[in-house]
Every structure is written in C-alpha cells, then in structure tokens.
C-alpha cells in the first residue's frame, strides 16, 4: 500500500535533490547540457564569487522578509474578519480565494498590465487622484515591492485559510469566557487569539518562507529579474544559469545554495518559535 507513495516520493522528491547535488559537482557541455566531468566544488566557488549571486541571495531574503511581514498580519486580519461572519464577508472570502485559485502566470500577466508605467490601471488611478505616477516595475525598489505586493495579493488566501482553520478550532466558549472575564476586543486578540494561533502562525511562516524563497513566476513575468538584475532572486538566478546562460553546473550549485538557505531560514524560525513557545 505504501509502495506507490514511496516510489512517488523517491521519484519526484529525493531523486531531483540527489540529481541537483550531483550536478552541482560536475561541469557541463554548454551546447548539449550533458555532464562532462567532476569538478569538485568548482561550481560553488565560481557562483559564490559572482556579485550577481550575492545580490540574488540578498534579494531572496528581502522577498522573504517583506512577504512574511505583509502576509501574516494581512492574512490574520482577513481571517478574523471572515471568522466574525459579518455581512459582506462572503464577498471577501470569494475574492481572496478567487485570487488564490487563479493561475500564477495569468495573475502576473494581469498585474504586469496594471503596473505598466504609461498605460497601466494603477498609474491611471494615481493620476486621477492627482497623485504622482509611480515607476512600478521600472525603478529597482519599486519593482521589488511591486513583485511582493502581487505575490501577497495572490497568496494571502492560503495563509488566511490556515488562520481561519486555526480560529475556528478555538471553541467559542473560550471567547465568551474572556468576555465575561472583562477582556476588551484587543486584549482578547492579543492574549487569547494570537497565542492560540501559534501553530497556525508557525505553519504559515514556514509555507510563506518556502514560497517566498522559491518565488520565480511573478519575477519572470513582471521584470524578468530587472532592472539591472535588482529583482533577480536565487531561484531566478538558477533558472537563468540553466536556461539563459547554458551553465547547468552553476544552476545546480546555486539551487543547492538556495536549499541550504531555505533549511537555515526555516530551521532558524522553528528554533526561535519553539523556544518562545516552550517558555
């Protein structure tokens, strides 16, 4: 019974990791992309010497931090709103889940049009409101934020659902008890809701971290990693090495680095949250 699942896991999870590791230690024929020999850590040495790779590592972290910093409070707010079953929440729920269900590539294409500096909807709105038009995808800082905003818009639904599930697993009587104990709405949120959502927060952080680290489609579609490589994260860097620059070895090495970073990030989070949770 377990065998098919195990086979799938080996085939689709472990095999690619092993292949990636092996590839990172080999050189490749740039024309045929076939391995041409073992080179030890040479790929890593070369990749780590690249200033553009350093930037990609930094920008990967920037995406992670920004996406987490926006997603978690926003998802929590939305989940709280939906949990209250106020009128209109059905609409919010449908809208948020609709965004989640939409294809990432299609979403990115739509936002690409909205962000367009000269013909996009967002600048049209800003101009209508007598605000200065923004170089959304043109200026490096704007572009990073634009990618983050689109990604959060797209993916906040998943975090929201996880928070909603967390909220709904708390018996209503706990909130009633808190009300009778004289707690204000804010105190209830701070002292009851938030601590009870700790498992959901850990889960959301983990999933959002993994997602933000691997972010590639919106970048590819909105900025192609530009301007000046300023929005290229490690995932896109690897993609470029493999598919634009005929360097599968470098691609594999940077992917291995990305995996290590991911392990470090999520491991660090787990350590931090566990310790605080076990007080």
């Amino acid at each position: 019974m377990l065998l098919p699942a195990l086979a799938g896991l080996v085939l689709f999870q472990f095999a690619p990791i092993v292949v990636g590791l092996l590839n990172s230690l080999q050189s490749f024929n740039p024309f045929t992309h076939r391995a041409s020999g073992w080179v030890g850590l040479n790929n890593f040495v070369e990749v780590l010497a690249e200033p553009s790779f350093h930037w990609a590592v930094l920008i990967t972290m920037v995406y992670v931090v920004l996406i987490l910093a926006i997603t978690i409070p926003l998802a929590l707010g939305l989940a709280t709103l939906l949990n209250s079953r106020r009128p209109g929440t059905t609409f919010v729920r449908a809208a948020v889940l609709g965004a989640l269900a939409a294809s990432e590539a299609v979403t990115a294409l739509v936002w690409n049009q909205m962000y367009d500096a000269s013909t996009g909807l967002l600048n049209a709105l800003l101009v209508t409101l007598h605000l200065p038009a923004q170089p959304f995808l043109i200026d490096a800082n704007h572009a990073v934020v634009s990618i983050v905003v689109m990604t959060v818009w797209k993916d906040v639904g998943l975090a929201m659902l996880m928070f909603l599930a967390g909220l709904q697993s708390v018996p209503g009587s706990v909130y009633e008890a808190a009300a009778l104990d004289g707690a204000s709405t804010w105190k209830v949120f701070q002292r009851i809701t938030l601590p009870l959502l700790r498992p959901s927060v850990i889960l959301v952080m983990f999933i959002a971290t993994v997602g933000a680290t691997r972010l590639v489609t919106p970048i590819l579609i909105l900025t192609q990693g530009g301007p000046g490589g300023s929005t290229t994260n490690m995932a896109l860097y690897s993609y470029n090495q493999a598919f634009s620059f005929n360097s599968p070895g470098h691609a594999a090495a940077s992917v291995v680095c990305m995996m290590l970073l991911l392990v470090a990030l999520t491991g660090g989070q787990a350590l931090l949250l566990r310790r605080r949770g076990g007080k």
Partner: protein
C-alpha cells in the same frame, strides 16, 4: 478582381501607393490561390528533383525513403489555425505518398522554442526536426546536434537561399539550419500622424543607406512627440513599443537591439579600431565582449536608444500602438505591409483600426546602415534515428508549393530568391524592395558560440538602459558579464 478594386476605391483616404500595394497583393494572391495546381508550373525550381521521388521533395536529393513504418516528430511554434492548416495539408499529401511514415507535431509557444530545443538536446531524445533560429547556427555546429543539410539537399537549392540568410545559417560551409523565411526589419510610419503634426516624413527609399541618421530620427520623433502633446494628444506616441521584445518593462527589441549599437560601427574599418569592434560586438575568437560591446560608439548608440524613452517618444511598457493607429513609427517587417494591404484586413492585427496611410523607410543609420538578420530556421536533429527521412520531410515542407501556401497565410517574406522572384512586388514596390534590400545586406549576430548567453545577458541591459540606467556603466557591466559567460566555451 474588379469587385475588389471597387471596394478599395470606395474607401476614402487611401493613398495611391496603398492602392497599388493592394492591387499587387490581390494579383499575386490570386496567382497563388490555386497553389497546388500552380505548383506544377514551378516544379523545375532550383534544386528540386522532379520525378525522382514519389512527390515533390523540393531540394532533397538524398536516398529514397524507407518503406519501414516510422514516425517523424517535428517541433515548431504554434501559428494561427489557418497557418497550421497549411502544415496539416502538407502532411496529408506526404502521408499519401509515404503511408508508412507517421508525422507527429509538437507545437510550442514561440518564446519557449529555443529553451525547448535546449532541453531536448540535453535529454538526448529530441524530435527529428526542431525549429531553430539562424543566429544559433554556431551553437548548433559547436554542439554537433544539427545535421549539415548539404548532405541531403542539392547545392542549387542551397544556393537559392538569400545569401545573407544562408551565410547566417552556415558554419564552415555546412548549412546547419534552413532559414525558411526572413523578417528583414525596417521602419513603418503613419503618414496621417506626421502630416497632421506638420512634421516631415522620412525618406521613402529602398536604398538602406538613404534613410534618416539616428540624429535626424531622434530629432524628428522628438518634435513629433512635442507636436502631439501640444495638441493635447496624450495617447499617441511618436514611436510604437517594440513588438519584438518580451513585453516586459523597458520595451526592448530583443535580439534586434544590436541595430542601435552595431550601426555605430563599421565592418570596413581597421580591425583594431573602435569602429570595427563596435560592429563586431565580440572579439575575433568569439569569447570576449569587453572592448566590443562597450565602446564609446556603442555607448552613443545606447544613448540614442535611451533618448527615445527618456523623452517620452516611445512607451516604457509594451503594446501595439502602431497597429492601433496611435503611433507615428514602428520597427517592423514586411508582414505589416501585407496585413495593411490585405484584402482580408479583418483577419489581420489591423482588423479594428481604421485604415491610415502608411509609408516605409530604412532603419536609421549611424556610421553604417545596419540590420541584423534573424530567421526561424528548422534543423534536423543529429540524434534522429531517421535523418534522411527527416531531411526529406523538411525539404517537402520547404518545397515551393508548401512554402508559398505558408507565406500566403502567414505574410512573411520568403527566404529563397526564386520564390521572391515570383512575387512582382519585390521588384516594383518600394516597401518590398526595401525589405529585399535589407535582407540582402543584413548581418549575422556577433560571431560567438555563446550567442545564446550573449543576448540573454545583453537584452536585460538594453531594457535597463531604456528605463534609465547609465549606458556606459550598464554596457560595461553587461560586457563583463558576457565575458564571464563566454569563459566556459574556451
């Protein structure tokens, strides 16, 4: 025919040249209308082997095809249904003659083609025929995964390919891919917009050395922009966004950005000179871009490019403003003329745009009149178990009848001299003559086996410069990046 002319005359605002163009199109299309029957007339086209095989296998002169049941796979871009139908009809005819050969097509989005080729080549199991591009010929040769077509195609057929195209697809005398159409680029302008703004139109010539200079071009478009804005027109642009780029911000000209840079150089200058290096784009051994991509001339070329974006002459985003009738000029190929003069305008990208008067002019020139030649060019995969049959199928698809049917539906310019000669417009109409002149003199991309890396690194740099990056710094940076990328080919 007369009915068509009546229709055209009844439409107001059509220039004489447009009318002539339409008549020419009408005539030639009528001639090609019964393409199959008409094909017999041209069976003796250069390089074909009438009667040698069961059907007209065009330039193929290899061994007779196997009678074993085999399957041939062809990976190409997806076209509109009417163009795809041309292929389907051809396959049906092929199958009738060789029922043992099954043909399977894999259609992929155009933008994915070259990456898909790479993936197939890396996997070691690719389709028998894949759609490549002439600018990758050096890579095909170095990687040894394209079959030299000289082994299977007659020399006359190969000689019939437009010289610049043939050269771009050849390495060391081997034709590695078959440029089957060409898209020589030049400039279109919307005469109505120029005239109503009171700006002089560019020279309508077919001699590519007689167009505007970059200075004239930038100056005229700047004045046009100001004139448009002065009238309160905020939706029109002097120059349309590129339709060659990837639609990202900083509308770019993909591989064609080299026009701005390399036109500032000179192939006839001393090889040690900055002028020559600017033209070459890469060192003699094809492994160094620094000192070639970032010469003072190249930087000036990119400043010219940046000028367009910095002064609001062209949008920073994508779009098809010219086709919507809201752009003064655009860079385009002969397809545009074919669309605008088509008797079936409703099926063209201009379907929703009221007709306007257009003209064509060469690309602006710097130290030289430069155009790059990029063409789709299928190749036979060296790993194919049926190389001869694959070559025969490719030859069949490229026989005169099938090519003419394709060009009729798709609107592109034939890549063979004999086919061009069949279309009277290429000798009588300025736009078509211009296209032919560009095709005849266009240059291959910078000669490096790492061209794929090269343009993937330079393209974002051009995009960044469009968005305001310092041309000097960004080009130097890109050149250094290219140097690093080319190191692996040493």
């Amino acid at each position: 025919m007369s009915k068509d002319i009546n229709n055209i005359e009844s439409t107001s605002g059509i220039s004489r040249r447009t009318l002539l163009g339409q008549m020419a199109v009408g005539a030639s299309w009528l001639a090609m209308g019964s393409a199959m029957g008409w094909a017999s007339v041209v069976q003796a086209a250069p390089g074909s082997n009438p009667g040698k095989y069961k059907i007209d296998l065009g330039g193929y002169n290899g061994p007779e095809l196997t009678s074993e049941p085999i399957t041939l796979r062809f990976m190409r871009q997806d076209f509109a249904p009417s163009v795809n139908a041309v292929f389907d009809n051809a396959y049906a005819e092929f199958r009738k003659a060789y029922p043992n050969i099954t043909i399977e097509e894999e259609k992929v989005p155009y933008g994915d083609l070259q990456k898909k080729v790479q993936v197939y080549v890396a996997s070691g199991e690719g389709p028998d025929i894949m759609m490549g591009r002439n600018d990758f010929a050096t890579a095909y040769a170095a990687g040894q995964f394209a079959v030299p077509l000289n082994q299977y195609f007659s020399q006359e057929f190969i000689d019939d390919i437009v010289d610049s195209l043939r050269n771009s697809g050849s390495v060391g005398g081997d034709l590695l891919c078959l440029p089957w159409e060409t898209n020589p680029v030049f400039m279109y302008f919307n005469r109505d917009i120029f005239e109503s703004a009171g700006i002089e139109t560019p020279p309508e010539v077919s001699d590519i050395t007689q167009g505007w200079t970059w200075d004239q071009f930038n100056d005229a478009l700047d004045r046009l922009t100001k004139a448009l804005r002065a009238k309160g027109d905020t939706t029109s642009w002097a120059l349309a966004a590129s339709t060659y780029g990837n639609g990202g911000p900083g509308s770019n000209y993909a591989q064609l950005e080299s026009i701005w840079i390399r036109s500032m150089g000179d192939p006839n200058a001393d090889k040690a000179s900055s002028l020559y290096k600017t033209f070459a784009g890469v060192s003699e051994d094809g492994l160094t871009a620094s000192g070639y991509l970032d010469t003072p001339e190249a930087v000036q070329g990119m400043k010219n490019y940046q000028f367009l974006f910095a002064n609001g002459i062209t949008p920073k985003g994508a779009g098809s403003q010219f086709r919507e009738g809201i752009a003064g000029m655009m860079v385009g190929s002969i397809n545009e003329a074919n669309y605008m003069t088509s008797e079936d305008r409703a099926s063209t990208p201009y379907a929703n745009t009221p007709p306007f008067k257009f003209g064509t002019t060469p690309l602006p020139r710097g130290a030289m009149a430069f155009s790059a030649i990029i063409a789709d060019a299928p190749f036979v995969y060296a790993g194919s178990p049926h190389v001869a049959e694959a070559a025969a199928l490719l030859a069949f698809i490229c026989n005169d009848a099938n090519r003419l049917a394709f060009h009729k539906e798709w609107g592109s310019m034939p890549g063979r001299k004999s086919l061009l000669a069949l279309d009277p417009r290429y000798s009588s109409d300025q736009s078509y003559q211009l296209a032919a002149a560009v095709a005849a003199t266009a240059y291959a991309p910078p000669q490096t086996v790492g061209w794929f890396d090269y343009f993937n690194a330079v393209n974002p740099a051009v995009s960044d410069i469009a968005l305001g990056a310092d041309p000097q710094k960004r080009l130097t940076n890109a050149a250094q990046q290219v140097d690093g990328l080319l190191a692996k080919y040493k």
